[in-house]
C-alpha cells in the first residue's frame, strides 16, 4: 500500500478544514478526490507530504512506508520528490522563474543522490525533447511545463504521484495530452496516482476509486464506476446532474 491514511484531520487555527477517515492507494492504482472549492480536497493531498504550512494535522498518514506526521524533517525531505512527487495546478507558476529547467532537474537529482538516473528516458516518457532543458519556464507552454513536472517525478524514481488539479488551468486539448501521459505512466511503471479534481467527467475516465468531499468531509467513496453510475449521497447526485 503506497498511501495509507486513517482518521486524518487538518485544522487551520482550530477550524477543521479536512476530515478523511480512510484513504488507501496501492501501486498501479488511481484514486481521485472530487469536490468543489473549499471542500478540503487539496488540503488533504498536500498534508500527505506535510506541505500544509501552519496547519495542525492529526491521525495516521503513511506514504511509501514513512509515517509522515511523526517523521523527522530529514526523513520527510527524503521521500519528498524521490518517492512521492507533487504535480501542481498552475504549471508555469510551479517552476522557479529564473532557473533553467535542466538546472532544476540536475539540482533535484543531486539532492537525492540520483545524478545517475536517466534524464532522457524520463523526458521521453512524457514526450519532451532534451532541448527543453535549456529553456526557462516562461519559454515553454503550460502543457510542456506540466509534463516536465511529471518528468521530474519519473527521473527521481517516484513511486507515488500526487496530482493537485493538474489540468484545470490547461486548455482541453492540452489536458487530454497530460492526462494521457499520467494514465500511460501509471500502467507502465505501476505508479500510485492520487488525483484531486473538480471535473467528474475527467475523473470517470481515469480513476479506479473515488472519494467525494464536501465542506471538508468525505460524503461518499468507492469504486469509480459504481459511485458515478449509482451515487448514494444526494450531493454526489447533485454534482452529476450539474454537468452541462
Amino acid at each position: 500500500m503506497m498511501i495509507s491514511v486513517r482518521d486524518l484531520q487538518v485544522r487551520y487555527a482550530g477550524r477543521l478544514v479536512a476530515d478523511v477517515p480512510e484513504l488507501d492507494v496501492g501501486a498501479g492504482e488511481c484514486v481521485a478526490i472530487v469536490g468543489e472549492s473549499g471542500s478540503g480536497k487539496s488540503t488533504t493531498l498536500l498534508s500527505l507530504l506535510g506541505l500544509t504550512e501552519n496547519a495542525e494535522i492529526s491521525g495516521r498518514v503513511r506514504v511509501c512506508g514513512v509515517d509522515v506526521l511523526t517523521a523527522s524533517p530529514k526523513a520527510l525531505r527524503e521521500i519528498r520528490g524521490a518517492r512521492a512527487a507533487l504535480v501542481m495546478q498552475s504549471p508555469q507558476a510551479a517552476l522557479s522563474p529564473a532557473t533553467r529547467l535542466g538546472t532544476l532537474m540536475r539540482r533535484a537529482l543531486k539532492l537525492h543522490g540520483r545524478q545517475g538516473n536517466d534524464v532522457d528516458a524520463a523526458l521521453e516518457a512524457v514526450v519532451l525533447d532534451r532541448e527543453i532543458l535549456r529553456r526557462y519556464p516562461h519559454e515553454v507552454s503550460g502543457g510542456q511545463a506540466q509534463r516536465f513536472a511529471i518528468a521530474l517525478a519519473i527521473a527521481l524514481g517516484a513511486e507515488v504521484i500526487l496530482a493537485d488539479e493538474p489540468t484545470s488551468a490547461l486548455d482541453v486539448t492540452v489536458q487530454a495530452e497530460v492526462v494521457g501521459v499520467l494514465r500511460r505512466l501509471r500502467a507502465e511503471r505501476d505508479l500510485a496516482l492520487l488525483l484531486v479534481s473538480h471535473d467528474l467527467a475527467l475523473v470517470s475516465t481515469i480513476a479506479d476509486r473515488v472519494l467525494v468531499m464536501k465542506d471538508g468531509a468525505v460524503v461518499e467513496s468507492g469504486p469509480a464506476a459504481e459511485v458515478l453510475a449509482e451515487p448514494a449521497h444526494p450531493y454526489t447526485r447533485e454534482l452529476l446532474e450539474a454537468l452541462p
Partner: protein, 282 residues
C-alpha cells in the same frame, strides 16, 4: 507539526506589532508638537545669557543652548515646524503627483509618455540641488523648504500612481463602466482613484520620514528655517561645534528627528503589511 525545521521551532514567533507601535509613537510626537505651548516649560524665545549652555537638569531636562534658551522647549516647537513641513510637502506632492500619474496611467499612449518623461527629468534632477537652487532664489524660509522639496518629491507619486492606474485601467470592472458609457474622467474619479489609494497611502507614511530628514538637511545647510525659528535641522547646525563640549545642544534635536522619522517609517511598514492583499501569512 511536520514541516517545521528544528531551528525554527526554537525561535519564538513575534507577532507583527509594528503598525501599532508606530502609530503610538507617532501619536506621542504629534501630541507633543500640537500641545507645545502648554507642555513647554519655558516661553519660546526668551534667551537668558546667564543660563548659557547648562547641562540637562531638573530645571532644563534637555539643558540650554548657546544663548540660554531651553532646548526641550525649542524641540517641542521645532516638532510643529517639521510636521507642518512634512504634511505640506506630502499634501502638495501627492495632489500633483497622483493627479498626473492617474491621468498618465489611465490614458496611456503619448499622453503617458510625455508625462512620464517629464517626471523622469525631475527624478533625474538631483533633489537637494534643485532645492538648494530654489532656496537660493527665494530667500531661505520654511515656505521655501516646502516648495523646494515638493518640487522634487511629486514625481515619485506620479510614477507610483501611473503604474497602479495602468493596471486598474485593464480591469474588467473598468471595461464594464466604459460599456455603460461612463465618461473617462468619471471612471477615473469613481473607479481608478479609490483603488489607487492604498499604495499611495502606504507611500505617504513611508515618505514622511524622508521629508523630515530632507527638510532638516536643508536647514542644516542654512537654506531652510532661519534663526530664531525653532527647527531641528537648524538646531543641529548651530550646535555642531559643541558636540564634544555640550553634547546635549546637538544630540537632542538629532534624536527628535530620528524618533519622528522612525515613527513614520514604522507606521508605514506596518500599513504596507496590513493593507497588502497578499499579507495573510499562509
Amino acid at each position: 507539526m511536520t514541516d517545521v525545521q528544528p531551528l525554527r521551532r526554537s525561535l519564538p514567533r513575534i507577532p507583527d506589532r509594528f503598525a501599532a507601535f508606530g502609530a503610538v509613537l507617532l501619536a506621542v510626537v504629534v501630541l507633543a508638537a500640537l500641545l507645545a505651548p502648554w507642555l513647554a516649560p519655558y516661553p519660546l524665545d526668551e534667551p537668558r545669557p546667564l543660563e548659557r549652555l547648562l547641562p540637562p537638569s531638573g530645571a532644563h531636562w534637555f539643558g540650554t543652548d548657546q544663548v540660554g534658551r531651553d532646548v526641550l522647549t525649542r524641540i517641542l516647537y521645532g516638532g510643529r515646524t517639521s510636521l507642518t513641513i512634512a504634511v505640506a510637502v506630502l499634501g502638495v506632492s501627492a495632489a500633483v503627483g497622483v493627479t498626473l500619474g492617474v491621468v498618465a496611467g489611465y490614458a496611456g499612449g503619448w499622453v503617458r509618455d510625455v508625462i512620464m518623461r517629464v517626471t523622469d527629468v525631475f527624478l533625474a534632477f538631483p533633489a537637494l540641488l534643485l532645492s538648494l537652487a530654489l532656496a537660493v532664489v527665494l530667500q531661505p524660509s520654511v515656505n521655501t523648504v516646502i516648495l523646494a522639496i515638493a518640487v522634487t518629491w511629486w514625481p515619485w507619486y506620479t510614477r507610483l500612481a501611473a503604474s497602479v492606474a495602468a493596471s486598474i485601467a485593464t480591469r474588467p470592472y473598468v471595461d464594464a463602466a466604459r460599456c455603460l458609457g461612463v465618461p473617462a474622467p468619471l471612471i477615473i474619479v469613481r473607479h481608478v482613484l479609490p483603488n489607487s489609494l492604498t499604495p499611495v497611502l502606504v507611500q505617504l507614511s513611508l515618505d514622511a520620514g524622508g521629508v523630515i530628514l530632507t527638510s532638516a538637511a536643508l536647514s542644516y545647510l542654512g537654506l531652510g528655517a532661519q534663526e530664531p525659528t525653532a527647527e531641528w535641522g537648524l538646531m543641529v547646525q548651530q550646535g555642531q561645534t559643541l558636540f564634544t563640549t555640550n553634547w546635549w545642544v546637538v544630540t537632542f534635536p538629532g534624536l527628535a528627528i530620528l524618533v519622528t522619522a522612525f515613527a513614520f517609517n514604522v507606521l508605514g511598514e506596518g500599513l504596507r503589511n496590513a493593507l497588502d492583499p497578499r499579507r495573510a501569512v499562509k
